[in-house]
Symmetry: C2
Subunit: 213 residues, 2 copies
DNA sequence: CTGGGGTGGGTAAGTATTCACTCACCCCTT
DNA sequence: AAGGGGTGAGTGAATACTTACCCACCCCAG
């Protein structure tokens, strides 16, 4: 690495990492500074206050929906609708797995939630963006006759992405305290059943296509 | 009220209300005491520490899945599968709307998340309980021949409840545009939804039944 | 060249405030 | 008299943020 990262970048990285691992409440200025390898005062040379650090992390470090969009537009007849939906479900699970724990913890601090929401509004986006994009894709496929004429694109998009979203919540909920040493991890079998190991994305994509009735 | 509520009950009520309205971070012992109409010291006459108050709220004040179960078992042939799924979707949206902001804010404090998860484990339940119950119901209907023989109950349950879950997240996320005054919220006029109008529960239930392919 | 001062980035050592929690002390009922 | 339920007034720890200072580097007048 010829160019070591600038201090502001290291601060944002540290804050992002702490948000993911130790949670919003334990992400203090002292911890951010320690993780970034600088002093607490240095934070305030680059950011007005702690909240600005968080807002910048939310704006710049969280993955957007760009990849999801590409996944949709890169299907010029090559792939079937089912293949495409499966791929989208996989990407959505990734996206939500990274986003959801941090987004969820915003509910602990409504002021932050509000500022983040306003920031998203200025960018003309929001958390429902993936769902809307997927609905638009499905409408195109409907116009092409590749899915049923009476299909409901919005409902289908809400179903597919909602399933991925909730699944990401479940895994984040069950993971919780991951790496931080509780000392004796020894019990091993703590009944923490991992979710069934099938290909969730494929199953869910198939079901939303074929229905169950 | 003929029987004024006991102090512990008032404390738990106050904590629950604060968790919903001002968030986990701003729910301090001082605020709980003020909302409960007692002194801070009184909290410690009835609870060992603040965490115990939160854990008790999570255990006792959050709605369980009982109503959802009844909604499913109360269908001895009377209602169609679609009607039943629609009813389940409505109840699920209610359940998640009340649960999700508080559950989400647990991600801000991994220690609390962990204790809550352990508490749920002792009760033999968890956040995936509704989905499993719905999947069992669908399997019964499949055995009865009321839905397709090759239907995937788990995937269908994950789709339907996931859609409701994510929708509850969206509304909770975009709430708060209301100005400071909370006003009188409980007047039963639930028409003010920011999301597009239409009967989401019905649309989503119909789509999971018929599919789109 | 030189050197002196402005500047951006850095720090150690605070400060005021808030937090969860405790303690000595008072009722009031039994 | 005894003791459960209640309180006002703290306590030490932690928090976000500030202050006073430092130093390497660049620009350019002398």
């Amino acid at each position: 690495m010829p160019t070591p990262k600038s201090t502001p970048a290291r601060i944002l990285d540290a804050a992002h990492e702490l948000l993911r691992t130790t949670g919003l409440a334990r992400t203090t200025t002292k911890e951010i500074a320690r993780a970034a390898g600088c002093s607490e005062a240095a934070l305030y040379k680059h950011f007005a206050n702690k909240e600005e650090i968080f807002v910048r992390v939310l704006k710049e470090r969280l993955p957007g929906v760009g990849p999801l969009l590409e996944e949709l537009t890169a299907d010029p007849g090559e792939r079937t609708v089912e293949e495409c939906l499966t791929a989208v479900a996989r990407r959505a699970m990734d996206l939500y797995a990274q986003t959801l724990p941090i987004a969820g913890s915003l509910f602990a601090e409504p002021a932050l939630l509000r500022r983040h929401r306003e920031g998203l509004a200025e960018l003309g986006t929001g958390p429902h963006e993936p769902r809307d994009q997927l609905a638009r894709y499905l409408r195109r496929e409907r116009d092409r006759g590749r899915i049923r004429a009476d299909a409901d694109p919005e409902a289908a998009a809400a179903l597919l992405l909602g399933a991925c979203f909730q699944r990401a919540f479940f895994t984040a909920f069950s993971e919780g305290t991951t790496t931080e040493g509780t000392g004796t991890e020894g019990t091993g079998t703590e009944g923490a059943r991992t979710e069934p190991t099938g290909d969730f994305a494929a199953e869910v994509a198939r079901t939303v296509l074929t229905g169950i009735g």
